[in-house]
Subunit: 432 residues, 2 copies
């Protein structure tokens, strides 16, 4: 039997400990699958005294992950520290320079430095594997990097943040406000004390940037992602969505358009009958549209020790079996510079909700403004008459046929100028 | 750049031509992904004159696939001939003996000869890849063989035959009979002239046998699969299922039980809210329950040139990149002999529909017989009174709590002995 693969794990939080437990508990099966033992030899973490529910005293201990990266006692470097800069970035570079393959769960790091790190990996004859970095336990990175290369991918869309999906699911089921559901999510450990990164869509954007690169053979380009979170979604929007046959999900979407590659993260109305609409609670899901295979959807747990640990171990196994697939599926030099399609050129349908002042001719005014910009309406709903709680306004909901974001913004600005609205209109993009 | 990988394709039907088209159309992208060109150099088929919608005159032509398998002009043998015996079996053996890796779409071949062929592959230092053999375009073989090895898999269940799912979907949506929907499926090309292999569950069983081996690390054991098709499902069953909150799907299920590994294919009641219940028409889906990752579900096209061609090309790409993963995920000698759990030991809930003679005390008699065998009833439905069309009988539907198949059969036999039934009772297993 071949030599053991010696693993060093940097970061002993949820992901690192999750992987460590699996490597211990499934050691025999992993040896059979890899054709060689996979053995953790070293760990890196600052705090040696913390109780992690597992004995780590048998491993070489490094306070500095950069030092572990260069140690002759490890063959592969597993990075679960997190953060786009600092120790994670330094240690991954050090491991690659030392000719050691890297497995990382760090989406922020790759979203920011992916192109640079892929080049460095290649120069040193190794690769970076990152299944745990997007959609946790769902093997969608491998699907894009390996299984689907025969296809021309046209679109990737996904629910990739369990916190947001949990909040939206509860808001829908119970008619609660965003703030109430967020509080519950924090109590249950589904949301951080500062939830901005999750609920404002940045976490999803990082994951989307990685999937986009793999799907379209382009350099990671997280700066060009349009990002909008779920904090502005109201119970009324969810109720209206339900009546119109939709659910609201925070989606990350990357697609080829005639303008280039469009990447966007925002609350989205999806038909109730779609696969993504069925995904409730903290689950994640990714749909891929590809030619000639068609549409594939993967659903599963996106976070937690079990899900991310499973993904880390899958990547380690590949490397133990001798895989050395280029970080983003092809040589770093062969990744194209992405042509960005700006969100103003997005084409699609919209849900618009406005609080309209109850004055004669207001609705006619709105419809006229839309028509002037060439926007056709699929439906108009006016719920009840005057809403007492908003002081004499009437909620009006429009569903538009496909139009461009630029035209829509102009029409909404025209309508605002007419002084018939109370507050700002709500606009949610529709994906069919 | 490394040498080209020279591909020989045996069988120029849907799958072979599907793969050939992709290899031509995506040649540049595949070269970038593989780091070397992937070039078809030879094809094998008996009929040279048939129009296949693509020019195949540029390839070396073999009438005998066994000859192509041994040709020095190919590095990898792609088998899309089909059939468990004969030329497919002979040619795959010849390719392996010549030290050539094999990609095959042939579930019947592997379901029958999987263990033998895996050993032969290993002896010759190569492997058999078979992503197209189960669930077509869905990369579930790779997920089990590579991504999920860190997990202890407890259950695999799937909708793996598009013909059956199409028929059941239409029966449900339109209240039509099995025979009517089968006719339509044949007209649309979704079902063969002789549909037995699909509708009686044998196709699903072959696919299940392969997933079972990968999931549990056991030798392929298709002989121990309990198989029951969908031809006995009636529109009334689908209507009752709907009222009770279920859909009926033909599932292949493999699970660990205290008795061993249970493998079964049968019409199954699944809750409408489950992921599998959302899968309609010719789509396929596979759900995997694994510890610690949790439950993963994959949905996508299971058949057709695009789906199977995509899977073939994914496998070829892996081999071009140097992968040599053991056929069933671990050394053939390390595959365990499966301990079979017979269907009579199956534990679960049941839907029972009976045509009960409208005589005093019939219902009480049935309930008593169930109780005598220790079977608890979750619900009893008696729809309408006397059904004129069945000549004075009343349809009675029972939903049982979990019980054993053996007990249920005994109870049904007791009830039949009481002479209160017209015809045989319908029994459909429930999966929650």
């Amino acid at each position: 039997m071949a030599n053991a693969l010696r693993v060093g794990i940097a970061g002993l939080g949820t992901v690192g400990i999750g992987a460590l437990k699996i490597l211990n508990q499934r050691a025999n099966e992993l040896t059979l699958s890899a054709g060689r033992p996979i053995r953790v030899t070293a760990v890196a973490s600052r705090d040696r005294t913390r109780d992690r529910g597992i004995d780590v005293s048998q491993y070489l201990w490094f306070e500095n992950p950069v030092e572990m990266a260069g140690s002759p006692e490890i063959d592969i470097f597993v990075e679960t520290i997190g953060g786009a800069e600092g120790p994670a970035h330094d240690a991954v570079k050090a491991a690659l320079k030392a000719g050691k393959p890297v497995v990382t769960a760090n989406k922020a790091l790759l979203a920011k430095h992916g192109a640079e790190l892929a080049r460095l990996a290649e120069t040193n004859g190794v690769a970076i594997a990152f299944e745990p970095a997007a959609a946790g336990g769902i093997p969608v990175i491998k699907a894009l990097k390996e299984s689907l290369v025969g296809n021309r991918i046209t679109r990737v869309s996904g629910i990739m943040n369990g916190t947001c999906n949990y909040i939206l699911s509860r808001m829908e089921a119970e008619g609660l406000s965003f703030a109430e559901c967020l509080k519950d999510a924090q109590r249950l450990g589904y949301a951080e004390a500062d939830p901005t990164f999750d609920v404002e869509g940045f976490d999803t954007a990082h994951k989307l940037a990685l999937l986009t690169s793999l799907a379209f053979g382009t350099e990671v380009d997280s700066d060009s992602i349009y990002v909008e979170g779920i904090s502005g979604v109201t119970p009324l929007d969810l109720k209206m969505a339900d009546e119109l046959g939709f659910r609201i999900k925070l989606l990350g979407v990357a697609e080829r358009t005639s303008q280039g590659i469009e990447q966007r993260v925002h609350p989205t109305m999806v038909p109730k009958t779609s696969q993504l609409a069925q995904v409730m609670g903290v689950l994640n899901a990714v749909s891929i549209q590809a030619d000639p295979v068609g549409e594939l959807t993967f659903v599963g747990p996106g976070a937690g020790a079990g899900a991310t640990g499973s993904a880390v171990v899958g990547d380690i196994l590949d490397i133990a079996r001798g895989a050395n697939v280029a970080t983003f599926g092809r040589s770093a030099g062969a990744l194209e510079k992405p042509v960005r399609a700006p969100i103003r050129q997005h084409e699609g349908g919209y849900y618009i909700r406005m609080d309209v002042k109850d004055v004669p001719g207001a609705a006619a005014r709105i419809a006229t403004r839309m028509a002037e910009r060439g926007i056709s309406l699929e439906s108009i709903l006016q719920k009840g008459s005057r809403d007492r709680s908003t002081g004499g306004t009437v909620p009006v909901v429009l569903i538009t046929y496909a139009t461009s974001e630029a035209k829509l913004r102009e029409a909404l600005s025209d309508i605002a100028g007419d002084g018939v609205l109370e507050g700002d209109p709500q606009a949610i993009r529709i994906e069919r």
